[in-house]
Symmetry: C3
Subunit: 340 residues, 3 copies
């Protein structure tokens, strides 16, 4: 429990109303109850400022007062994160190294590392300070985990792969799987060894049950600050830039190069050996089949610029009308012919 005054200090905000009101948790503005704090994050919810039962609402500086206590801040979205963190339940996190974890004597373990039950830390691996490793994790030989990173339960980090600092990998994900590369000779598919690594930058997040292949000769790379949702596939040799957002079920095929701050919608993808420019946005289910410049939105399969795609869709939607117009023309010509 905290007073509104304490929360104001936390988020550098200004109270309009009673700073002594006690706040016990966070709730959505439309179904909050007394004791909770809510957030006005979208203009469309503004009317709730009058009707909400929340004991306080976090609003932007420009907001005029409503029917409850207000906490005015520069950026309500960021304040939302800080206040959520404040009210997060204490999860009994891994602490220290569980006695059932197997730590190879030839691995290097930093300070304040937590390692869960039955985890396997192989020889030559290097676990940075403050790293938290879940139960049943496998860190293969030579793998490096940067400081402060959190590795979820059952994750596999393959041999020699590298995870940056403050990076999060959620449960069940495989980093450094063997890429899907074969040379076919007389109907037999010969497996191409994959000598490269998978390398994740700092502040990366990888969702649950993803698969990130290692590279063939060079590394598969995921840049700093890039976030992946669940069940994402990244093939061998792919290079992804900084700050990308890659939603669930995306598949990026081999050797494709993705720029910085690119956004992939759900179930979208990119074929192999193409380049996608910085700040490109691929709509849900969009499929990039050739290199595209950045800064634009693409949709459809094969993907084209969304504006162009929308125009074509409009033309398709009017096809029944077009057919009627052609029928009318045919009828007119037929009639005239008949008149002659």
């Amino acid at each position: 429990m905290s007073t509104l005054r304490e929360l104001a200090l936390l988020v550098d905000g200004e109270v309009v109303g009673d700073p002594n009101v006690e706040i016990t948790g966070v709730a959505e503005i439309h179904n909050a109850s007394t004791g909770s704090i809510s957030f006005l994050l979208h203009k469309k919810n503004q009317s709730y400022l009058e009707s909400t039962k929340a004991s306080a609402v976090v609003v932007s500086k420009s907001e005029s007062s409503g029917n409850t206590n207000l906490l005015k801040v520069e950026n309500p979205s960021l304040a939302f994160i800080h206040i959520l963190e404040h009210f997060s339940p204490e999860i009994s996190a891994e602490e220290g190294i569980h006695p059932t974890a197997l730590i190879d004597p030839e691995s290097k373990i930093g300070k304040d590392v937590a390692i869960g039950a039955f985890a396997v830390i192989s020889s030559g691996s290097d676990i940075g300070s403050g790293v938290s490793i879940g139960s049943h994790v496998i860190i293969e030989s030579g793998a490096v985990i940067g400081e402060g990173s959190k590795i979820g339960g059952g994750v596999i980090v393959g041999h020699n792969c590298e995870v940056g600092s403050d990076t999060i990998i959620q449960g069940g994900t495989v980093i450094g799987s063997h890429g899907f590369g074969f040379t076919t000779e007389k109907d037999e598919h010969h497996r191409i060894p994959q000598l490269g690594r998978a390398v994740l930058g700092d502040n990366v997040e990888i969702g649950a049950n993803c698969a990130i292949d290692r590279g063939t000769l060079t590394d598969t790379v995921i840049g700093d600050g890039t976030k992946l949702d669940n069940l994402v596939h990244i093939a061998h040799n792919v290079k992804i830039g900084k700050g990308c957002l890659i939603t669930a079920h995306v598949a990026i095929a081999g050797s494709t190069v993705v720029g910085d701050y690119v956004a992939f919608g759900g179930q979208s993808g990119a074929t192999d050996h193409v380049e996608i420019g910085d700040r490109a946005r691929i709509a849900s289910r969009g499929g990039i089949t050739k290199s595209v410049p950045g800064g634009k939105t693409y949709s459809g399969m094969p993907a084209r610029e969304a504006m162009e795609q929308n125009k074509l869709d409009a033309y398709i939607n009017r096809l029944p009308e077009l057919v009627k117009r052609v029928q009318a023309l045919e009828q007119k010509l037929e009639n005239r012919k008949g008149k002659k």
Copy 2:
């Protein structure tokens, strides 16, 4: 081995033929051999009633006799399930609590619970009576598993998440992963804490290697009797009703609300913040991008009513013909012009 009479008792059926024939197993009607029992589940297979080598065939009450013994029942599909269960091999299921399983003393374990090797049951969790937990499962702190549920190998049930009674979760699935929610400020993606839970109802089934995110403020909910296939992604705050069937590779984005008895075909999906009405059916690869009423079938991406989509597809298929008609019109006008 059972006699046909015994199987008739099991499924409340009536034997036409020899009730003493011995049945050793179940086979498909078109490739059955002596000693097996088959099922007539589709009209198109009716001719097999004459030619099948099965020692008996389960048929509906209305069926006239074929060339083999018949077992007439009200509902052959349900009888199929009961007789399959009867002939299921005894799997050496988990029994009791394996000595390598780690059971936190502050967890609550019901009667007749089976827990596999190397499973980790954390503090504050509550495992109902008759629950079976596979090897390498992680039940995080505060998680609740209802009576009679079966948790497959390597599954993770995240902290405070709740699984109902008689629910099945298959191998490798992650329940309660952290949702893909970020607030972006100056190109930096700040992670939004997810304080909600993932809550599964009773009689739910989740396939292998799925990922079900926890909610942000409220819970992600999967209703009673809903079944998910393999590799399905359910994002944070999604609410799914009762009795839905959600096929493999489906992705449902954040905060979307799915009604009761909705069916999703393979690789289909729904965007975030939409509502899908009761008994809607989304065809394979359909992509719901806006709220849709229930009771109808949707297909395409973006999805529209399947009938409408089929009509448009027919128009598209006749585009070559339409172009020829326009050419013919142009030619006619050109000819007339020439004639003048």
Copy 3:
């Protein structure tokens, strides 16, 4: 480190230049440095023969000399594999049976088997000679793993399932999950027992985090030499032939029969109960919705022959032009009418 002469012996090639040059690793032809060997695998890279800094380049017999030492071979792609294998780092592979692995006394373990930490080998299972099993693997009762196969970390091989010889299963994959089969009666979905197995042939490869369901009455089968990428879903009763290539995120629905040497592009799929002929190719995102003959390429959803699909796409792309032509016709007719 090896001399070029030694590598020539390895791949049965002929040196043009200095056979004593020392090679320390493999690099891409366009960013190689001294000491590395590169490969000319695509004609488009031929100009690099002049500019590469590689100490040697592997080329086909027909190649004339460039600016560096050449190693001429019959098939540079196969030589690429052999030389990559030669330079592969020694991975500290599993050796012997880890003391924490649980081996049921009623299982059968061949010679020279490696079993990782915390693996669970159940009763009645049969592990062939030379098999390598990763950490945290679960081999359920009665499962068979053929000689020389490699099972990645955290993999589950379900009860009675069968894996052939020299087959590779990557981390996190579930073999023999319970198929998505229900009989719906009054809105209740009754689970159909799945008595069949999942059976993988020899030289098969399954990527990371896949799910291969067991069959209902017969087996789900994946033929010899077939390769699956990551996150692939194969439903119950599916039969896949020999030598297929199935890329990431593919979903093949129940009872579908896939011929030999079929190729599925990324995120493509097939509906249930269809047949796909030998050597069919399904383009990325293609969705097979009815049986199709082999030897052809299919694309789109629903998929049709790619040539036909490409033609339709061209017609769609020219829709704006077609609408203008119809407008012009309407205008002409209107003008003439006006003239009269």
